[in-house]
């Protein structure tokens, strides 16, 4: 068990998570992205892409000027780039956090503490920020507010992740004195209080306008499935790899102990 051993397994698990996430996002998410872009193009002026030069619909095919990246590339190689890079980066970070947590969260085994770290990571880094600032399809969101939306999204994400880390640390300390039940309840409650209060204080973003509710729901569901796939595959793969490493090391230690006893 070493930092290197965790990092290597985290990167591998992240790579796998990125590949699976791409397949799920392509199958489940892309039809919804396509539907939103079709609405955007049919709707005309309502919500324009800020990233297109001048603010027209240059980001998508069908605009007058040639798009910088074609829709085909965006939905295949572009999407794959995104999911792979995020998967590997998250895998590495989660694995190093799991390395810190190893042997420090009660008496959880290496596999168990790794699984717990990934679960907390999913809730704090993906699920809770999603509930406050849900994913928006193309055609929703004004280019003028991208600065505000970016800062409140990542600000809230930071609050959530820091609160989760502190709540976990607090729960570990609480467990030493009051036991596991009090630690889990106390830690979870503290985290929830922080993110709910922060959720009330942080600015609300509503730029949906008259975007069709059914398309919006389908897109958001697809986005949530994409995020859950990323973290789910990462967690399952990393937990499996760390558990296997632990068993191998145990076997080696047992053999050494046996040899020494002869």
């Amino acid at each position: 068990m070493s930092a290197r051993a965790f990092l290597v397994r985290g990167l591998l698990a992240g790579l796998l998570a990125g590949i699976v996430t791409f397949m799920v996002a392509y199958a489940v998410g892309e039809p919804q992205v396509g539907a939103a872009i079709a609405l955007e193009e049919a709707g005309g002026d309502g919500h324009s892409h800020s990233h297109a030069e001048g603010g027209e619909e240059g980001g998508d095919e069908g605009g007058e000027e040639a798009p910088e990246v074609s829709r085909t590339n965006q939905s295949t190689w572009g999407l794959l780039t995104g999911t792979l890079a995020i998967g590997v980066a998250l895998g590495g970070i989660v694995a190093l956090v799991a390395a810190v947590a190893l042997g420090r969260i009660g008496r959880l085994s290496p596999g168990q503490s790794t699984a717990l770290v990934t679960l907390i990571g999913f809730v704090a880094f993906a699920l809770v920020p999603f509930l406050k600032y849900p994913a928006t399809p193309p055609a929703v969101g004004s280019g003028d507010t991208i600065g505000l939306r970016t800062s409140v999204y990542f600000g809230y994400l930071l609050v959530s992740v820091v609160a989760a880390a502190l709540a976990t640390y607090g729960a570990v300390r609480l467990r030493e004195r009051f036991g596991t039940y009090a630690a889990v309840v106390g830690g979870t409650a503290a985290y929830l209080v922080v993110v709910v209060v922060a959720g009330q204080l942080f600015a609300t973003v509503n730029e949906i306008g008259d975007f069709p509710a059914d398309t919006l729901w389908s897109f958001r569901l697809a986005s949530l499935i994409t995020l859950a796939t990323m973290w789910g595959v990462l967690g399952v793969a990393l937990t499996g790899l760390i558990g296997r490493l632990h068993r191998q090391q145990q076997a080696v230690a047992e053999r050494k102990a046996f040899a020494a006893s002869l």
Binding site: A3, T81, G82, A85, L102, G143, G147, S223, M230
Partner: protein
């Protein structure tokens, strides 16, 4: 509970842990590297642009939307 946390029951397998001194440089360097990658995929050329332009934004456009990051 508190006793079992300090003095493991006989036969219970010992759980290894990695000293924080050993972990710190790994966590710092690769943590920052990972955050940098996440920044480029999730937010670059939206609110902040390094480098300026829209190519990175356009290239990872769909991933950004589907992974829930603010896009445009």
């Amino acid at each position: 509970m508190s006793q079992s946390a300090t003095a493991p029951v006989a036969g219970a397998p010992e759980i290894p842990s990695i000293p924080l001194r050993e972990l710190a440089p790994w966590a710092l360097f690769f943590g920052l590297l990972g955050l940098l990658v996440i920044f480029f995929i999730s937010a670059d050329q939206g609110a902040v642009s390094i480098p300026s332009g829209t190519l990175i934004h356009e290239w990872v456009h769909d991933g950004r939307h589907l992974l829930g990051y603010p896009c445009h």
